[in-house]
Amino acid sequence: MSTLPTNSSPARRQRLYNLKARLISWGMIIFCTCVAALAVFCLFAIFGYIFYRGAEYLNWNFFFHSQASRRHPSAPSGAANSIVGTLIMVGLASIFGVPVGILCGIYLAEYSRDAWFSHLVRLVVDVLAGAPSILVGVLAYEIFVRRINLYHGFALRLMRAVKMVAPFVAKGDPSGWAGAMALAFIMCPIIARTTEEIIKLVPAHLREASLGLGASRTQTLFRVILPTARAGIITGIMLAIARIAGETAPLLFTAGGNNYLSTDPNKPMSALPFEVYKAYQSPPRPSWQHQTWACMLVLIVLILIFNLLVRFVSRNKMKVR
């Protein structure tokens, strides 16, 4: 090619450049597809293994019997106690965690005009999202279970007075409430973080158009911004729920575990990951191994069903996009 006249050099450089750009482009397409395939493969490797180990031990007894039953001491043992416990505690945690998390996210994205304060809140949310769950569990333990050092005299009487409103200020024992609050603590920053990121990505012209048409800020928030960001916010909530449903460490001290079926959050409660942990720690007798894998499978299937449900509900409303 050296015979070509020098004045064609820019065109040649152009062609070479285009070729290079296209090659890189194709390379990146292939790379992205490959890594996505790798991620999906890992999913199947893990899920496949859990399904393989768990499915052989699953039967109806597992769902309808507790680990121990007072009326039928010889009944087959199952995990009804921990399934119910997980559902109740995650539900209670969401009632507290989701609104607080979303409100904080909205604050960060919409109202944070004081620069230093919003930076502080953002930093705090990040730190909380990274705090190890066991420490959060210890905090919930100190507040809701031990409480001896926290509430004295008047404070204790006040707490008892509001017991009707907040049942979790019962006497200091491990309880479903304490476990739920520990989970809520973990949930809030995750939701706040994702909510903020998503709301911030709502294009400014949508917001400006709404305000320009005379809508108030709150109207704009509820009619324009939140609906547009809904899918992302729901993803954030799902991620948070998936995270807390699988948490073991914070429940160890707060929920306490219960081998009997209990639906009263004032009493100790069990949860699926908690049972998995207990069974894993126990001597490798066959029945305990079954418990480990079957509980794990049920936990994952529960989360799966929940994911599908949320997806279904949110899809019906998402007529656009």
Partner: protein
């Protein structure tokens, strides 16, 4: 139109919760702790006891001895199961005095992974050698010290991987107690505790199941686990040379003999691991698993609850012992049982003894 349905959802959740909050009249007792005692506690003792005592509901959570001790210290459970007695400093942190009740005993087993050595050929080890392995002074399986103990076994030239518990554990307490009793160097540099600074760099397993898992999968590994983990996990285990110089298999009988030899030396509060007892048939490393309660049960705020707890412990110490052997535990010697029941009679509620 999504929000009304969400409100309805919340209402129904609240309704379910309210429906669940129906109290029942039974006396419920809560215990937590040791995983080692969980099989007999959950499969035999609690179901059998509840059969004959229909008004009592006992819940035991096998969350580990450490968590159990933490719970009993904070008085959030009624009794605690622990594989090691509470240490002096732990007992200083409890609000009032606690009592230790040995329930059953079991050996601590040295299991290993040696490719080429069939599981029926048990490697023999003695205390000195074991201490040197855990000190990192013996690095290979074909070391002359190990060879001298095993003249009939062809040992491979393989790096020894020392496996220990990574979490604080009663088993570690028993094991390091044994090493301290047989090796001065260990006593000086490491000592006895539920958690120590391991001199030889190896691997830490979370829980006995973690240790058993690493030993099972790693060539050249050696680790200490409780009896049930080695037996049920089909791990090869070493014969330990006892004080009389006889290599002894870790068996229930070996522990029973060891207990009988040590029972005279047991202190008043029973806090003593069964380490290096005399006797040709005794297995050198074993320990009781304890049930720990408060001497003064006022904190339970219910006479019925305190009485039920004490009665359950009385049953474990007497009738409950008959289930020990079938579940692979060593039962208590009969003279020790008498001492324990005498100790149980000192438990009080509002100043009054609960048992007469």
């Amino acid at each position: 139109m999504s929000y009304p349905s969400k409100t309805r959802l919340l209402t129904s959740v609240a309704a379910i919760l309210a429906a669940g909050a129906v109290a029942h009249a039974a006396t419920d007792i809560r215990g937590a702790g040791s995983t080692f005692v969980a099989p007999i506690m959950l499969k035999k003792w609690i179901p059998q006891y509840e059969k004959t005592h229909p008004h009592v509901e006992i819940d035991y959570q096998a969350v580990g001895s450490g968590t159990g001790i933490k719970d009993i210290t904070a008085q959030t459970v009624n009794f605690c199961g622990s594989d090691a007695p509470m240490t002096d400093s732990q007992m200083r942190h409890t609000p009032t005095a606690v009592l230790h009740f040995p329930e059953v005993a079991g050996p601590v087993v040295m299991s290993y992974n040696l490719p080429g050595v069939p599981p029926s050929t048990h490697v023999h080890l003695d205390g000195k050698t074991l201490a040197n392995i855990y000190l990192g002074r013996i690095r290979h399986w074909d070391n002359s010290a190990i060879k001298a103990l095993n003249p009939n076994v062809t040992l491979p030239h393989l790096r020894i991987l020392v496996v220990h518990r990574s979490d604080g554990s009663g088993t570690t307490y028993i094991f390091t107690g044994y090493l301290s009793s047989v090796s001065k160097r260990w006593k000086q540099h490491v000592g006895q505790s539920t958690m120590v600074r391991w001199p030889a760099m190896g691997r830490g397993g979370n829980g006995s199941s973690g240790v058993a898992g690493i030993v099972q999968k790693t060539r050249g590994a050696i680790g200490y686990v409780e009896f049930a983990y080695a037996m049920d996990g089909h791990l090869p285990y070493a014969l330990m040379v006892n004080k009389a110089g006889v290599p002894q298999k870790p068996t229930i009988h070996g522990v029973v003999v060891a207990q009988a030899a040590l029972v005279k030396h047991l202190p008043k509060d029973f806090r003593l691991p069964i380490i290096n007892p005399p006797g040709k048939k005794a297995y050198p490393i074993s320990g009781f698993t304890y049930l720990i309660i408060y001497k003064d049960m006022d904190y339970m705020r219910s006479h019925a609850k305190a009485l039920a707890t004490v009665k359950f412990i009385h049953w474990i110490l007497t009738k409950g012992q008959n289930y020990a052997k079938s579940m692979q535990y060593a039962r208590l010697p009969s003279n020790m049982q008498k001492r324990l029941i005498a100790q149980l009679k000192t438990v009080t509620y509002k100043g009054q003894p609960l048992l007469k």
